[in-house]
Amino acid sequence: MIKELYRTITSLTALNGFIPLWRRPIALIAVISTPFSFLFFIYLFGGPSKILIGAIGGILFTIVNASTMLQTDLLFYKLDLKFQQVVASTPINPLVYMFGLATGNIVFTLPGLAIFMGIIVFQSHIGIIQILAVIGTLITTWVIFSMFSFLVSTRVREMRDIWPISVMFSIIFGVVPPIYYSISALPGPVQYFAYIVPTTWAAILLKGIVIHNFAGVAIPALVFVVEMFCVLAFTSRFSDWRLNRT
């Protein structure tokens, strides 16, 4: 059972990650260009002291952006290639399908994540426990937004609808939340909205782990994990693996 699960996930990872990356390595640039541009401007206007904040924001933005963009791949495979129909008529579990493709998707971000992690470690001198906590936070973020992407892809009926939707979610999840700045910088009503978005808690957690050495991370960590289970439950309940809505 575990062996079969491993084979399913690795083959989907190869299909959506290693093979396209091997054949079209240029795609790497598309994934990491935005967060590195942000880092460049933060350095330019904030100076060297803000590089750490820029790197924390960059590592989180990379994960959120890539996971949000997964919905485009999923929808393309469903509507254009009809690959989801092929898979849905096999015993492969929908969530396993999603995680396999999401893992493949994350392959493109690995070089960027490694560079940002290097900058974070170099700038903050964090230890192994903090590094593991950062990785745990990033994995949870990836799970939340991959599931969300899966949910969206199962509900959208036409390919042309996904472009504005993915851009909108990219802004809601990647730009509005206080990834690169403090939440207090946001106007009052937007602050309340930002607290609903999981990215906000991920950002608070990462800053707490890296900058404040775990100070004040308990409540954000709890909220973040609760949000993950809520998204999991929501996805299981409302995603439509069958084609009744397409």
């Binding site: 399913t8 290639l81 690959f83 849905a88 008529s89 492969i92 396999g100 009926r157 069958r242």
Partner: protein, 305 residues
């Protein structure tokens, strides 16, 4: 042993932004023996919807479908171990080659590296795809891409294969490769549900044929049974003639692009032939074929997709 396929009072309605479309109104039929069962019908007759319901993609609104005794809704998990699908208008991944498609699809379904490799090589050999097995699909022709999708489906060791227009866009040589593969699977005791617009394909491959129209299942039988169910036994094609009224006394007349087609009985043929001979007209006479059965049952003019 449960029968391969059973559909009872099946109804499927699509609902989209307040609009409803009845794709299947009433499909009641059963396929009692293994082998190739073809569904024939015009575009929008419900063939693809039936395949989607049977392969657990869509839930029925009324009635049920059972595949080897398993209900497509209540037994969906067990059923998915027994079926394999080529969806209509499906396409391979542009960045992968056909071998990778089949190999990874095998691994995805839990097979080991060796099993996947053996199976991929075997299916690629069976379909004669060796020449382009390692070429990225973005560089393949439409037919080669379609063959890749067929190879993926046939690579699974299941009891029944749902092939929704698997040969669309293939040239005749490639179509024959697919036919050979289907025949091999049939001879190996597998069941195949085939939807097709090619009537010759259905006639050549099928053990039984089902005819559907406007969401209703009209008739089923072997080619001979379908033929014998008709009122007429002979087909006469009259080139250049348009005077339908004159021939109505002999049977059922349709106009087509090059003249008329008359369904009649053998005793009338001599009279029609002599009349045409006198007028020096070109005429073709033959037994009723599947296309004639189809037109007669579906009751629409001769233009079949």
């Amino acid at each position: 042993m449960p029968i391969p396929l059973e559909s009872n009072s099946l109804k499927k309605i699509y609902r989209n932004r307040g609009r409803t479309t009845t794709a299947i109104n009433n499909f009641t039929f059963s396929v009692k023996d293994k082998g190739v069962f073809s569904l024939l019908g015009r575009n929008g007759s419900g063939k693809t919807t039936f395949v989607k319901v049977s392969t657990t993609q869509l839930t029925p609104d009324e009635g049920y479908v059972k595949v080897f005794g398993k209900d497509v809704v209540s037994d969906e998990k067990e059923l998915r171990h027994m079926i394999s699908l080529v969806p209509q208008e499906s396409r391979p991944f542009p960045h992968m080659n056909p071998y990778e498609h089949v190999y990874l699809f095998q691994k995805m379904n839990g097979n080991s590296r060796e099993e996947s490799k053996d199976r991929a090589e075997s299916v690629i050999g069976l379909l004669g795809m060796e020449d382009f097995a390692k070429v990225e699909c973005v560089n393949l022709s439409g037919g080669q891409k379609q063959l890749t999708m067929v190879a993926m489906a046939l690579s699974l060791d299941t009891q029944i294969y749902f092939l929704d227009e698997p040969t669309i866009g293939l040239d005749i040589i490639t179509r024959k490769r697919v036919w050979n593969a289907i025949n091999k699977y049939r001879n190996a005791g597998k069941s195949i549900l085939l939807t097709t617009h090619y009537l010759d394909e259905a006639a050549i491959l099928s053990d039984e044929i089902g005819i559907v129209s406007h969401g209703n299942f009209i008739k089923q039988g072997t080619l001979d049974e379908l033929r014998s169910g008709l009122e007429y036994d002979t087909r006469v094609a009259l080139r250049g003639r348009t005077d339908i009224k004159e021939f109505e006394q002999y049977g059922r007349v349709f106009s087509d692009e090059s003249g008329m087609v008359l369904f009649t009985n053998q005793e009338n043929v001599e009279k029609i032939l002599s009349d045409s001979f006198v007028r020096k007209e070109r005429i073709e006479v033959g037994p009723i074929g599947l296309d004639d059965v189809f037109i007669s049952l579906v009751g629409e003019d001769i233009e079949v997709d």
